[in-house]
């Protein structure tokens, strides 16, 4: 069953309190972030749960979850490489980086490796154009990417995953 732990329920209450009385719908986007953090992606059960928390119709949640690009509506790998492909990054070689990651992991953009560890995704400008090429990985950015750096990041993830398992 989909259920937030106690501390997340408290966080939801805190967020709702930021808005005027009766405007708890404003909490929807932040609460969907909390849900994705907790469950990895947004299943329809998760979205229905968020709807019940905020006293919204489920459709109001689906509408929003499908509009914003950061919400995963399908399961994703444990590590998601979101590589920027917009003009300024392209000027500094993002195409090569995307190709290199794809080759190394044996997947195309949009796909996840068979072991469920990595997802490769192309995204549009992330506000890091001066530190290109770059990608987002979880909460943080990895910038000034080179093939060597990509190798190191993949190793780092594999090591981390093996200690977690």
């Amino acid at each position: 069953m989909v259920q937030f732990p106690e501390n997340k329920i408290k966080k939801v209450q805190e967020i709702i309190a930021r808005y005027p009385e009766g405007k708890q719908k404003s909490a929807l986007i932040p609460v969907l972030h909390l849900a994705q953090e907790e469950f990895g992606w947004l299943s329809s059960e998760t979205m229905d749960y968020v709807a019940s928390l905020l006293k919204l119709e489920p459709i109001e949640v689906y509408e929003v979850a499908t509009f914003y690009s950061m919400y995963n509506l399908k399961p994703v790998g444990r590590y998601m490489f979101e590589v920027c492909q917009t003009g300024p990054c392209m000027l500094r070689g993002s195409d090569n980086i995307i190709e290199y990651i794809g080759q190394k992991l044996g997947i195309k953009p949009g796909e996840t490796t068979a072991d469920g560890l990595f997802t490769l995704k192309t995204v549009e400008c992330l506000g890091a154009c001066g530190y290109a090429p770059m990608m987002q990985m979880g909460k943080f950015y990895r910038e000034h990417l080179t093939k060597e750096k990509v190798d190191a990041i993949i190793d780092e993830c594999r090591t981390k995953a093996s200690t977690l398992n």
């Binding site: 005027p20 950061m70 400008c125 506000g127 154009c129």
Partner: protein
């Protein structure tokens, strides 16, 4: 060295923390404003300073503030636009990351001026770690009495909250931002009513960019009179420029708007020139939505005058031979870059970011991307170039929000100035897969006074 008003202290060790920020003179503007000025006096001061919105449109900030409706008993809101998603732009991030208290300080003064007791920072969802930095700064400010109830005994209450978006460029448009803040899809609203009358939760609302709000701090500290003296003409104060692309020193620079474009690109104080001895081909001076210029129109205007890094000079010549200051996202192309390919990435960007409400924008952006893809991959026809031109003309001005224009302008400017490069792709479908068109004549001196 040009004068710095915003980033002067950004690299002082520990400036992210309250104690250091305060020791360096932080929060003086709040003391001055709340203890010695009325809200209207602050608005007047901002008006007098000539400050123009730093989010892209350059609308005078004081004037915008004076439009805010003030019906009795209705709350008013200030919302800080930290959505920063225009390709080439990463200045707000820099400011928030390195000197977060400057934004918090500006927000307190501005909230007092506008009567906002609940102020929101709407930040793009991807800047997740910056949310922590801002929340930390807000907490520190509150612990030291700069936020909360009855601040400095003035009777003014204020709280600041950070709200994350979730990946949508369109939410930088102020009415889409408001919709998103209300927990909805980021569909821009039809104006009027303007947010100043009916904004978030139907209340009067001002939306301002991060850099605009931060600039209020020096304006209050040194006074509008002194602020006005920095810069030139209607480009007063300093401007943050985020420089990227093929330059030696990509980064964020605070300039005083009196330096030339040439100096900005080549001087070691700023971009430090083009790497590997390459030549400059083109530049988009104000974020992806503004027109791209070939070198010969970038460094000098069509009249043959030096082009400067300010609002007036960058737009000299209109869209025929000029560009815009926009958001200050400065994208530099060296001689090896392909304008068609770059334009394709921008077309894809706008297609991806269109909210889909208006057919010219929804259909037009997709169509432009498709045609550009064909041209780039050697499958284009000569008539495609005219078709592209036609499509962008039909989007411009026919949509609810300016994203339509923002998608049309880059395509228009690329064709206007680089048509021969598009034609070369069509005529050389195999060769264009192997090499780029190169510098061509784009850096050659231009004949003076080109007719518009």
């Amino acid at each position: 060295m040009s004068k710095k008003l915003l980033l002067e202290k950004a690299h002082v060790e520990g400036i992210r923390t309250y104690d250091v920020y305060r020791r360096e003179g932080g929060y003086r503007s709040v003391e001055k404003a709340l203890k010695t000025m009325s809200p209207d006096q602050i608005t007047e001061e901002v008006k007098k300073s000539g400050l123009r919105g730093r989010g892209g449109a350059g609308f005078p900030t004081g004037l915008k503030w004076s439009f805010l409706a003030k019906p009795a008993g209705v709350p008013r809101y200030l919302v800080c636009n930290s959505d920063e998603s225009e390709p080439g732009t990463f200045k707000d991030r820099y400011l928030m990351e390195f000197i977060p208290h400057l934004l918090v300080e500006g927000l307190i003064v501005s909230s007092f001026a506008l009567g906002s007791n609940r102020t929101f920072i709407y930040i793009r969802g991807e800047y997740a770690w910056i949310v922590d930095i801002l929340e930390q700064a807000i907490e520190e400010a509150k612990a030291n009495g700069w936020l909360g109830k009855n601040i400095l005994g003035s009777g003014f209450d204020c709280e600041i909250y950070v709200q994350r978006g979730a990946g949508a460029y369109i939410c930088g448009e102020e009415t889409a931002l408001i919709e998103s803040l209300e927990g909805k899809r980021g569909n821009p609203r039809i104006k009027p009513p303007f947010p100043a009358v009916k904004g978030v939760w139907d209340s009067p609302t001002v939306v301002n960019n991060v850099e605009t709000i931060a600039a209020v701090v020096p304006i209050i500290n040194i006074g509008a009179e002194e602020y006005l003296k920095i810069g030139v003409g209607k480009s007063t104060g300093t401007k943050l420029i985020s420089a990227c692309g093929n330059i030696n020193k990509p980064g964020v620079y605070e300039i005083d708007m009196t330096i030339s474009v040439e100096e900005f690109i080549y001087s070691d104080e700023y971009c430090g020139g083009i790497p590997n001895g390459k030549k400059l081909k083109a530049c988009i001076p104000g974020g992806s939505s503004v027109p791209i210029l070939p070198t010969n129109l970038l460094l000098k205007t069509a009249k043959g005058e030096t082009r400067y890094m300010n609002y007036e000079s960058l737009s000299d010549g209109g869209f025929a031979t000029g560009s815009m200051m926009g958001s200050g996202g400065f994208i530099v192309f060296d001689e090896d870059q392909c304008v068609v390919r770059h334009t394709l990435t921008l077309a894809r960007f706008y297609r991806h970011e269109s909210c889909g409400q208006c057919s010219p924008c929804r259909e037009g952006t997709g169509w432009m991307e498709k045609i550009l893809k064909n041209i780039e991959y050697g499958k284009g026809k000569m008539s495609d170039i005219d078709l592209l031109w036609d499509i962008q003309r039909k989007i411009e001005g026919n949509t609810i929000c300016p994203l339509g224009d923002a998608a049309a302008w880059p395509v228009a400017a690329a064709i206007r100035h680089f048509r021969d490069e598009f034609e070369w792709h069509v005529n050389n479908p195999d060769e264009c897969q192997k090499r780029n068109y190169g510098l061509a004549h784009y850096a050659d001196p231009r004949p003076l006074a080109v007719p518009a």
